[in-house]
């Protein structure tokens, strides 16, 4: 039976892993290659790197990191952050990424999602959606959560699927960094609206939150950062907990 995936996320800036609260107040969490190695050994099903480097001068650092990780960690690697053109997708794939996350550019230029999926296959295109509750629905934000778009998250998810996204990485802006759990209603609404897999993200503070994301949110995969980086829980521990709660995982 297909296992639900646990995906540690590494936010990388200037070559270091960092973690913030609500996209600000960044704290250093270590060397990305070392952390990737550790997560692989602990049984992570995939790894996601989000390059949040602000300066274009240091953008190539992520390529070196991915190259180093891909030489010794043989599980799927997703890289996102700053992807604006098909050429960016190609550079990341050539460095060793298996999937590329597209976020802001999917909104400013939806054709990029189609072009990249046509060229490299849907399997390597992950559209990252940052959504925030707005009354009875959810709205898409871009630029790391700073820019409102007026777009409805559920409709947007369907559009991204139709353009060729192979997977959606869904982050609740309301929950990210708060450790109060996923926005389960948001996760479920989108998971039920599309046929492609959904990765739930934003808000994990306990292992029960991971279980809830799968059982109530209907997520196909769960992504978390801070609970793993700061050693509160191990990836292996998270998987055992999920298994105890009736979720199929790879142990």
């Amino acid at each position: 039976m297909l296992a639900k995936r646990i995906i540690p996320c590494l936010d990388v800036t200037n070559g270091r892993v960092v973690k913030g609260v609500n996209f600000v107040e960044l704290k250093d969490a270590g060397d990305p290659v070392e952390i990737a190695r550790r997560y692989n050994e602990a049984g992570a099903d995939e790894l996601t790197f989000l390059d949040i480097t602000a300066s274009s001068d240091n953008r190539d650092l992520i390529l070196h990191i991915i190259e180093a990780v891909a030489s010794e960690v043989f599980i799927p690697l997703t890289v996102g952050g700053g992807v604006r053109a098909v050429g960016d997708v190609q550079r990341l794939l050539n460095a060793g990424a298996d999937k590329v996350g597209i976020n802001t550019s999917a909104v400013t230029n939806p054709q990029l999602v189609k072009d990249a999926a046509d060229r490299y296959g849907s399997q390597c295109i992950v559209v990252a959606i940052d959504a925030k509750r707005a009354g009875d629905h959810w709205e898409i934000f871009t630029h790391g959560g700073r820019t409102a778009t007026g777009l409805d998250a559920v409709e947007w998810a369907k559009k991204m699927e139709s353009l060729g996204a192979g997977e959606l990485l869904l982050t609740s802006m309301d929950r990210d960094g708060t450790k109060s759990g996923f926005d389960l209603e948001l996760t479920r609404a989108i998971s039920e609206a599309v046929d492609i897999p959904i990765i739930a993200s934003g808000g994990v503070g306990t292992l029960q939150h991971l279980v809830d994301g799968v059982k109530e949110g209907r997520a196909d995969a769960v992504l978390a950062a801070s609970i793993f980086h700061f050693g509160e829980y191990g990836v292996d521990e998270a998987k055992r907990y999920m298994k105890q709660h009736g979720i199929e995982v790879r142990l």
């Binding site: 297909l2 399997q123 492609i196």
Partner: protein, 228 residues
């Protein structure tokens, strides 16, 4: 100079993961990622990967003049097909109504929408993406050291349906059983991605780089044992 292992590059997706994983399990082997028919023809063994859609895949193979090279390699030397490189070995793919290489008898079909739910009625997503159990349908040198039911990483929306059940080397469930590995003489092909399946994937690739098809038959003849 001929290479030990040629990874066929026909413009279908990223082959870096495949070559990196092979270099990892065979550090002393020469590995070439190549679209040169002469290099492929001279290589000791061949890996045929591929991602994307079947029509593009077949078009790119022909655009590079690789069809006969692939057919010849699949008939003459240790040959490992991965993902799309497994699917196009068969006769026809439902994806874009595409005629394929017809090296193995059978077809390629999409996971049917109406079947995609679990016992509790929950929707199952397509692509089939993630780690699933692989059940070994026959003993084979490439399964050595890999536990029955071990999990491998999959990402695909289509699966093969061999006409001849004898070639089925492994199957998985989503939600029904489907063929995820086939073996026929010097060909072994898998739907999952060994290069992304951590230790078990590396074991399979390690088995491939030392595999000598036909050796099993010789060993059986010598011992007088019956080979099924």
């Amino acid at each position: 100079m001929s290479v030990d292992i040629a990874v066929i590059d026909y413009g279908m997706g990223n082959l870096r993961s495949v070559s990196k994983a092979i270099e990892h399990v065979a550090p002393s082997a020469s590995v070439a990622v190549t679209s040169d028919p002469a290099v492929i023809a001279a290589a000791g063994r061949v890996v045929f990967p591929g991602q994307g859609a079947a029509p593009d895949c077949m078009r790119e193979i022909d655009a590079r003049g690789l069809r006969q090279t692939i057919v010849d390699a699949a008939r003459s030397k240790p040959f490992l097909g991965i993902c799309m490189g497994m699917q196009v070995l068969f006769e026809h793919s439902e994806e874009g109504d595409t005629a394929c290489l017809a090296i193995l008898p059978g077809t390629v079909q999409r996971f049917p929408h109406e079947a995609m739910h679990d016992d509790a009625g929950n929707k199952l997503k397509v692509p089939h993406m993630g780690w699933n159990n692989v059940h070994q349908a026959m003993p084979h040198p490439l399964w050595v050291g890999i536990e029955e039911g071990a999990r491998f990483y999959f990402v695909h929306s289509y699966f093969v349906q061999p006409t001849v059940p004898d070639v089925i080397a492994g199957f998985s469930h989503y939600p029904f059983p489907f063929t995820c590995a086939v073996a026929s003489e010097n060909i072994f092909a898998v739907q999952f991605h060994p290069e992304k399946s951590q230790n078990d994937g590396l074991t399979l690739l390690g088995n491939f780089v030392t595999w000598n098809p036909g050796e099993r038959d010789t060993a059986c003849d010598m011992s007088g044992a019956t080979c099924a």
